[in-house]
């Protein structure tokens, strides 16, 4: 009947190191399990979705993602797939300020101009799908189980690569790897994925010139540490493809589907033909244009998660124009520009232009709008990147402690 011993832990940590080791093991197992399911789901969809997902289909957009009605589901297949697919690729944010420690924590690589897609090889065939789910090619390749030629080479497996298809030389430039022979790389660091990508690709004949069982050549985009030499090579070095800016990948980041600040894209006139957005006629409009999504309450927002609110439309106007929430709307930014206070958008001088092209699945991201805005006024220049790397090198030895916090 005696009450339990009232002694409490004294001068001892509450969690034993053994308990910590158990928990870390469980966490590792949980993450591996999730990563494997994630890769399987992506592979399954890449392989089995019908090839044609015409983005210009006159299908109605779902009025809002929360209002999903099963009766319409079959009709929504196109948009649902498009939205889902678009979120599976790791999408770099636009670089609007230079991250610290570029040479220590980042890789840099030139970005080939072309169509971003997933390439999956399995069961004797290879399929590439673009961001909107449309099949780009279905072809035999030298990737594992990518053609009928390689039967009998081990148990069935699937591999998924993140590529840019470059029209001019009909080559898939591989920028990342999600899965290789069933092994999921989702929760591996960039450093790990890039090293293995190079290794694994070299084990196959995928980089060989095209042949009967290998319709398109694959090629690795050269990456390097983001020190001065690396940056210079990516920016000005000779590459066999047309460049569209340069990419920065944080070494420690996992493959994270959707927009992420741990991958960044930057460009100027020297390394890209398309620095400032053009309109449908290829002209640079006099005022910057942005595409935003209309919400239930009249707010217009970016596609970030959470979305950034740019403005709020008058409800009368919404009714008169027959706009529905979920619509993507095009605006011009007036002379008032964007007002930023303490790094946060406070006010935007928006002028309504019209609804956006149906081919778009998403509104612009905040970083894209800001990059475009800066590109028109005071762009982030290559000199700024160089300066950041130089100062980072100086500081590396002495100021680590301060930099770390």
């Amino acid at each position: 009947m005696a009450p339990s011993d009232l002694r409490r832990p004294y001068k001892r940590p509450q969690l034993s190191d053994q308990q910590r080791r158990r928990e870390l093991s469980l966490k590792r197992q949980e993450q591996s399990r999730d990563a494997e399911l994630q890769a399987r789901r992506l592979a399954s969809t890449l392989l089995s979705l019908p090839p044609e997902q015409q983005p210009s289909d006159p299908e109605p957009e779902p009025s809002s993602s929360t209002d999903y009605d099963l009766r319409d589901a079959s009709k929504l297949k196109g948009p649902a797939a498009r939205k889902w697919f678009a979120k599976q690729l790791m999408l770099p944010e636009w670089m609007i300020d230079v991250p610290h420690r570029l040479p220590h924590d980042w890789y840099v690589l030139p970005r080939p101009a072309g169509r971003r897609c997933f390439v999956v090889s399995s069961d004797g065939t290879t399929i590439s799908r673009q961001r909107n789910g449309t099949v780009l090619h279905r072809f035999p390749s030298a990737l594992p189980h990518g053609s009928r030629n390689r039967d009998g080479s081990g148990p069935p497996s699937y591999s998924i690569l993140d590529c840019i298809f470059h029209e001019m030389d009909q080559t898939y430039y591989v920028i990342d790897m999600v899965c290789w022979k069933n092994y999921s790389y989702y929760n591996c660091s960039t450093e790990f994925r890039f090293t293995w990508l190079k290794e694994k690709l070299a084990e196959t004949k995928a980089c060989d010139p095209p042949s009967y069982y290998h319709k398109y050549r694959f090629s690795l985009v050269p990456w390097s540490r983001c020190d001065l030499a690396g940056l210079h090579n990516a920016y000005a070095g000779e590459v066999p493809f047309i460049k569209d800016g340069i990419l920065f990948y944080n070494k420690h980041a996992h493959y994270q589907p959707g927009n992420t600040p741990l991958a960044l894209v930057w460009k100027d006139e020297h390394c890209s033909q398309y620095v400032i957005d053009t309109d449908s006629k290829g002209q640079v409009p006099s005022h910057q244009q942005v595409v935003l999504e209309l919400q239930d309450d009249g707010k217009v927002t970016t596609s970030d998660d959470p979305p950034v609110v740019f403005s709020c439309l008058n409800l009368d106007f919404i009714q008169q124009s027959g706009l529905q929430s979920g619509c993507l709307l095009r605006f011009a930014i007036g002379d008032g520009g964007l007002t930023i206070v303490d790094g946060k958008l406070e006010r935007a001088d928006l002028h309504y232009v019209g609804t956006s092209n149906r081919a778009r699945a998403f509104a612009d991201t905040y970083s894209k709008i800001m990059f475009q805005s800066m590109a028109r006024g005071s762009p982030l220049r290559i000199d700024d990147l160089v300066a950041s790397i130089s100062s980072s090198d100086d500081e590396a030895d002495t100021l680590d402690v301060e930099m770390a916090v």
Partner: protein
């Protein structure tokens, strides 16, 4: 027969072994031959006033053990046996027991009250023995004191044995009335008063209704408070124990009494004997626990919900409470730090002060600072130690803004005291305080760093120096280093510890070799610090971590060379092997996570695995948990290569899965099966029959701790993913198990927080199994085998949705299963999916979730369903 029992019972306590053995044997035989008669004879022996007290006591003890056991499965066996017993035998036994409560022999009464409570614990939930409480209470007022005492004691044990639901309120009222009257100051007998006070402690859980009634509660509280003033130590102690229990069970009812309780406890802390003073301090620690919990429920910003409001008792009592606790700090015992079992008023007061700081935050700082400043430089060690402890105690709770300026000044002082103070206890507390500084005020989340390039080197030098001090001081220095390293966990690619890495590792290894490293947990603390230093190291020191591999391997090898150890030495050897395997686990995980180091490291894989297998071989029936954990990490690092170790390793894997008693080992082994499935993929197939058989056996066992069951289900999913359609032959076993667990989880939901948490982990395991099975069968011609299970799985998802008590993880996994089901079964499940609630309300709720992972899973489900029903 009766006479014989007496002699056998006495013989069973004989000093001479053969006599004792023989007696035990005949008791066992008697029990097996005729259980009713055996129990009846024992109860008659217990009731017989002419029998010697020794035989009566043992008779009572055997009766008690025939009704209850520690292990859950044995306990339920015993309960079933009692319930199945001949009713007339049970009636006679119970009569004997009730009669014994009036015995003149105190020991007989006391044993009997426990036996009665055990019987009540079995029978009352079955609505049997309804007259028990009534008959105990019928004429309690007229009973002689010794019978009254025994009756109250019985009521106390009874309240401990049975849960409040099975006693109706009328009986509760009568019990409480009897107990509280027995506690009253007017009660003449101290024995009665003590028994009543101790009974109240157990009866408090029954008094929910009575505590909601102002008059009844006032009365109970008055009697308890009066009992704290009794001249009898034991009664005062029991009364304070009641107050502690009340503070956690009825926190929200304390307000009217808190001022009086403060006065009572303050007097006890300052003037009463130590056991009472400790309980008085515990009251305030317990109130802190409550308020910390409530504030955590509020989520800190007071916008969340908590069922119970916070009354801020600690904040209000602060000006008086803090000085009282500071006084206790000066009452240290000599060498309390060297004694693992020590617990005294200074330790209790210090612990309470830490809790108070966590409860009130910044407010405590100005109340403690003058005490620190006044005492920290005094010549008397007690004053310096108390001041240092006071400083250490306020480091968790108050804001970094408030503490940083103070700590910045104090750090130099502490570092110097750790080297120069002549007193070991002061140094012990100083090292502990440094550890707390690093734990709470150093790291990537803190704005202004405490450790700077200017003081980093000095800090490390002092800590390493102090590791050569006496064991208890060295242990705390290792602990401080642990948190110093932890603060650099997210430092990026360059750590300020890197320049000292070699020196730190060397010093820690030296500590583990100290002859006195077995004292004060020193060796363990050194390995734990080493683990953390490795865990938080960066790539610049990767080559040095690599060099550590052979060093630790040699240490482990040495433990394997020693033969013919005595049992206590074997235990120490096994403990050391645990530390070394733990260290290797951390190193494997570290080196395996970076591509550049993994290759070099893998050259050691064969040798390391060989050592782990030898560690296993050191033992006969059980596997070493730490070695198992390390093997999981190794499988993850080696990948498919691990297949070559399987022939030798398999038997230990099976042994781990069979370990019901040490369920942690079983759980860890289940996790390793998952690691191996992912590493080997279809190469695990030859071992799957054995593994699945064992896992299914584990699930059907009522001996295995329930916490292992959810990971076993997850493990089904891992195996299915690895072997794909080959999982076919296990479906007929695994699916019914999953189904019945799913049904059970629907029934147990919503009982209490702990059960809800378990239910959610069970659901998560079941769902992970389903996801693994569906994705494993994807694109196989055998997919149709799964169609039959779809209706039940969809029902399960609906029931989870309707239960409304799922956590975010379950929500994510559940909606993912919906997608996997649609993905794998396609149009075969189209109409089923359309009929299920999960594909409408549940999916919509997940699509609009703020949790990214849930949303992602839901978008997958949406896409897969769209495809399934459009084909």
């Amino acid at each position: 027969m009766a006479l014989e029992v007496t002699q056998v019972l006495l013989n069973a306590q004989a000093i001479e072994g053969t006599v004792r053995k023989q007696a035990e044997e005949s008791l066992k035989q008697f029990q097996e031959q005729d259980l009713p008669l055996f129990l009846l004879s024992l109860s008659r022996e217990l009731a017989n006033e002419e029998k010697p007290v020794e035989s009566r006591k043992l008779a009572g003890l055997i009766l008690k053990n025939a009704l209850d056991a520690k292990e859950q499965h044995r306990k339920s066996d015993l309960v079933q046996r009692w319930l199945a017993l001949d009713p007339s035998a049970k009636t006679q036994i119970k009569m004997c027991l009730l009669q014994t409560l009036s015995s003149l022999v105190a020991d007989a009464r006391s044993t009997t009250s426990q036996v009665i409570a055990k019987v009540a614990g079995i029978e009352l939930p079955q609505k049997q023995w309804p007259e028990l409480i009534g008959s105990l209470l019928s004429n309690i007022h007229q009973l002689p004191p010794h019978v009254k005492q025994a009756t109250l004691e019985t009521l106390g044990y009874l309240c401990e044995e049975v849960s409040p639901e099975v006693v109706d309120q009328d009986h509760v009222n009568k019990i409480l009335t009897a107990v509280v009257q027995g506690m009253n100051a007017s009660e003449g007998s101290n024995e009665v008063r003590l028994a009543a006070t101790q009974a109240l402690y157990n009866a408090l859980g029954f008094a929910q209704a009575n505590f909601s009634n102002d008059m009844e509660r006032d009365y109970i509280m008055r009697v308890v408070c009066e009992a704290t003033l009794s001249p009898e130590l034991k009664i005062r102690l029991a009364a304070f124990e009641c107050l502690v229990a009340i503070s956690s069970t009825y926190y929200d009812k304390l307000a009217p009494y808190i001022q009086d309780i403060f006065n009572i406890t303050a007097k006890a802390v300052r003037e009463d004997q130590e056991p009472v003073a400790l309980q008085a301090i515990e009251f305030w620690s317990s109130v802190c626990d409550e308020e910390i919990d409530i504030m955590e429920d509020y989520g800190g910003d007071f916008t969340g919900d908590s069922d119970i409001p916070c009354f801020y008792f600690i904040k209000q009592a602060l000006p008086a409470l803090v000085p009282m606790l500071l006084e206790t700090l000066l009452k240290q015992e000599e060498d309390q730090d060297q004694d693992e079992g020590a617990w005294n008023i200074a330790m209790a007061g210090g612990t309470c002060l830490c809790l108070v700081a966590r409860t009130v935050g910044d407010d405590i700082v100005p109340l403690v600072m003058p005490f620190i400043e006044e005492n920290i430089t005094k010549p008397e060690w007690r004053q310096r130690e108390a001041a240092t402890y006071a400083f250490g105690s306020i480091l968790e709770g108050p804001s970094a803004d408030k503490l940083t300026p103070i700590v910045n000044v104090a750090l130099t002082f502490m570092l110097s005291a750790l080297t120069k103070d002549p007193n070991n206890q002061v140094k012990d507390t100083t090292a502990w305080t440094l550890g707390r500084i690093f734990e709470f005020l150093h790291g990537s989340t803190v704005d202004a760093p405490i450790i700077t390039p200017a003081n980093c080197q000095q800090t490390i030098t002092v800590l390493l120096q102090s590791m050569k001090d006496v064991p208890n001081v060295a242990e705390k220095a290792c602990g401080a280093l642990y948190f110093l390293a932890q603060g650099y966990e997210d430092v990026g690619s360059s750590s300020p510890l890197a320049p000292f890495f070699q020196e730190i590792v060397q010093s820690l290894i030296t500590v583990t070799h100290r002859e006195d490293a077995g004292e004060s947990r020193l060796r363990t603390a050194a390995y734990e610090a080493l683990n953390e230093v490795v865990r938080c190291s960066t790539e610049e020191t990767a080559s040095m971590v690599l060099q550590l591999v052979p060093v630790i391997m040699i240490e482990l090898h040495k433990t394997l060379e020693i033969q013919g150890l005595a049992s206590d030495e074997r235990e120490r050897q096994s403990e050391l092997q645990g530390l070394l395997c733990g260290c290797l686990q951390v190193i494997i995980q570290k080196l395996g996570s970076s591509e550049s180091t993994k290759y070099v490291f893998l050259q050691y894989a064969d040798q390391i695995m060989g050592l782990f297998l030898r560690v296993f071989a050191c033992r006969s029936a059980t596997v070493h948990e730490e070695a198992m954990l390390a093997i999981g990490a190794l499988a993850y690092a080696t990948g498919p290569e691990f297949a070559k170790y399987m022939p030798e390793f398999y038997k230990y894997l099976e042994m781990g899965l069979q370990n019901f008693e040490e369920y942690q080992i079983c759980a860890v082994t289940v996790g390793v099966v998952g690691d191996i499935s992912r590493a080997l993929e279809d190469k695990i197939l030859p071992y799957c029959d054995g593994i699945m058989t064992q896992l299914l056996r584990d699930l059907s066992s009522n001996q295995l701790h329930r916490s292992v069951k959810p990971p076993i289900f997850s493990c089904f999913g891992d195996i299915a993913l690895a072997i794909g359609e080959n999982f076919e032959k296990y479906l007929i076993y695994a699916m019914p198990m999953l189904q019945s667990a799913a049904e059970m989880s629907a029934r147990t939901a919503g009982a209490d927080d702990e059960l809800t948490e378990y239910t959610n982990s069970l659901r998560n395991g079941i769902l992970e199994a389903y996801s693994g099975i569906f994705q494993g069968f994807k694109n196989s011609p055998k997919t149709q085998l799964l169609i039959a299970y779809a209706p039940h799985i969809l029902q399960f998802l609906d029931s989870i949705y309707m239960g409304k008590d799922m956590d975010d993880v379950v929500m994510k996994t559940a909606i993912g299963v919906l997608g996997d089901l649609a993905d794998t079964l396609g149009s075969h499940a189209g109409s089923l999916i359309q009929q299920s609630m999960s594909s409408r309300e549940f999916l919509n709720e997940c699509l609009s979730s703020e949790d990214l992972l849930i949303k992602e899973s839901a978008e997958w489900a949406k896409l897969a369903i769209s495809r399934a029903i459009s084909v």
